[in-house]
């Protein structure tokens, strides 16, 4: 059953009213039918009302809602990254503690998921927390996640067996930090061409002596690039440690 009506559908009338190419309408009917003319006039009136009154009033709100949604997604990605990093650190710590309890701690804490590395190259700034695609001359900054320990030492060793203390810069021992807050190392580090380079972050309850750490790292560097790539833990009396391998390639 269908309505036996001579009237064009609302859809046809709306198409006509909104000035889209309409399907052929029964011209004589439309001209003579008060109901269809009323429908046509009503759709046109409503469309005009939207354009003149509703649109100017509601567009800012529509824009704000769509903008806010996009912004929230963007914010979420920014917020989620540290949360994911923290979760990774927790997971890594469990692995680390499990190895401490076991007989053969062959696997250390993975660095890339635990800390953030930002690079400035010319005018461009980007996240390079995977430690790859770095170039000599890049200026890097590190953001270290909290690990619940009050002392931090950040050191590195490269393929030329050069060991350095990145934080506290030039210090003789670990520096004190807020054990519950992320810590951004002050200043930036300019990368030299020696590759690979491995950064170690040591968290401890008591300060570590920088010279002891440097001696161990020089020893590691002396074993060559492959040893640097594969060694994720060193025998430092830190409660927790994490690491990041930097691979630098000239452009």
């Amino acid at each position: 059953m269908s309505p036996k009506t001579p009237h064009p559908s609302s859809f046809e009338i709306d198409k006509l009213a909104l000035q889209e190419p309409a399907s052929p309408l029964p011209g004589s009917h439309l001209g003579a039918c008060p109901r269809c003319q009323e429908d046509l006039a009503q759709t046109r009136a409503e469309a005009d009302h939207f354009t003149q009154a509703v649109r100017p009033r509601t567009l800012p709100d529509v824009r704000r809602r769509l903008t806010r949604r996009r912004f929230r997604l963007w914010q979420l990605s920014v917020i989620a990254a540290p949360a994911l990093a923290a979760a990774s650190v927790m997971l890594a710590m469990r692995v680390h503690w499990a190895h401490q309890e076991g007989a053969a701690p062959a696997v250390g804490i993975k660095g890339p998921a635990a800390l953030r590395l930002f690079v400035r190259r010319g005018t461009r700034v980007f996240d390079a927390s995977d430690g790859r695609d770095l170039r000599p001359g890049d200026a890097i900054r590190l953001v270290v996640p909290p690990a619940g320990e009050p002392y931090l030492l950040v050191a590195s060793v490269d393929a030329q067996a050069k060991a350095s203390i990145y934080w506290p810069f030039g210090g003789a021992q670990s520096g004190r930090i807020d054990p519950k807050a992320r810590f951004e190392l002050p200043g930036s580090i300019t990368l030299d061409p020696a590759s690979p380079e491995r950064i170690f972050i040591f968290y401890s309850r008591k300060p570590l002596l920088a010279e002891d750490v440097l001696t161990l790292l020089r020893s590691l560097g002396a074993r060559g690039g492959e040893a640097i790539r594969t060694t994720e833990r060193v025998a430092v009396p830190a409660e927790q440690q994490t690491t990041l391998l930097l691979e630098k390639r000239a452009p």
């Binding site: 269908s2 859809f11 709306d14 009503q42 759709t43 509601t58 567009l59 709100d61 996009r70 390079a128």
Partner: protein, 170 residues
């Protein structure tokens, strides 16, 4: 690696919202007003429908079918709104009018009566029944607007008519 300084929103996107709102807003508003019969409700519904359209704009069909696509989204949204309002108060079945009319076919030619009946009908058949009995679309048009097969449209119309017959029979 990703750019850390990527802009979350830009002027081009802002312009796009404005352009699409101007292009589709009149059709959405007119459609919402026709279904909801209330300018304040139509205004709110227009914003909600437009936001749905904007979020799925990549699924929009070619220009010949855009109005049908907009119609589908607006119709479904408004019928859900009507249904939600009905749920919050007593369901108003137009049983008496159907019985007084005595002839179902002629009764359904009354758009107001048909609209009241459709508003109280089950979700599955509501959009089909509205487009056919209230908007006066034939089965092919209904199928096109709702993106359904003609066979599905026929089945749903039959279900709606069966419901109306039961009401008319008391």
């Amino acid at each position: 690696m990703t750019d850390a300084l990527e802009k979350p929103w830009d002027e081009a996107a802002d312009d796009r919202v404005s352009r699409l709102y101007s292009a589709h807003g009149p059709a959405i508003y007119a459609r919402c007003q026709r279904l909801l019969r209330d300018r304040a409700l139509a205004e709110d519904a227009t914003q909600e429908v437009f936001i749905r359209i904007y979020r799925h704009i990549e699924k929009a069909p070619g220009s010949d079918e855009v109005l049908a696509w907009v119609y589908r989204i607006a119709t479904n949204y408004c019928l859900n709104e009507i249904r939600g309002r009905k749920r919050r108060r007593e369901v108003d079945w137009p049983t008496a009018e159907l019985q007084v009319s005595g002839n179902l076919e002629s009764a359904l030619l009354d758009r107001d009566l048909a609209a009241r009946l459709v508003e109280a009908a089950p979700t599955r058949v509501r959009a089909v029944a509205w487009l056919h009995f209230v908007d006066g679309m034939d089965q092919t048009e209904v199928a096109r607007v709702l993106g359904l097969s003609r066979r599905t449209v026929v089945h749903r119309m039959r279900a709606f008519i069966e419901l109306a017959r039961k009401l008319a029979a008391g």
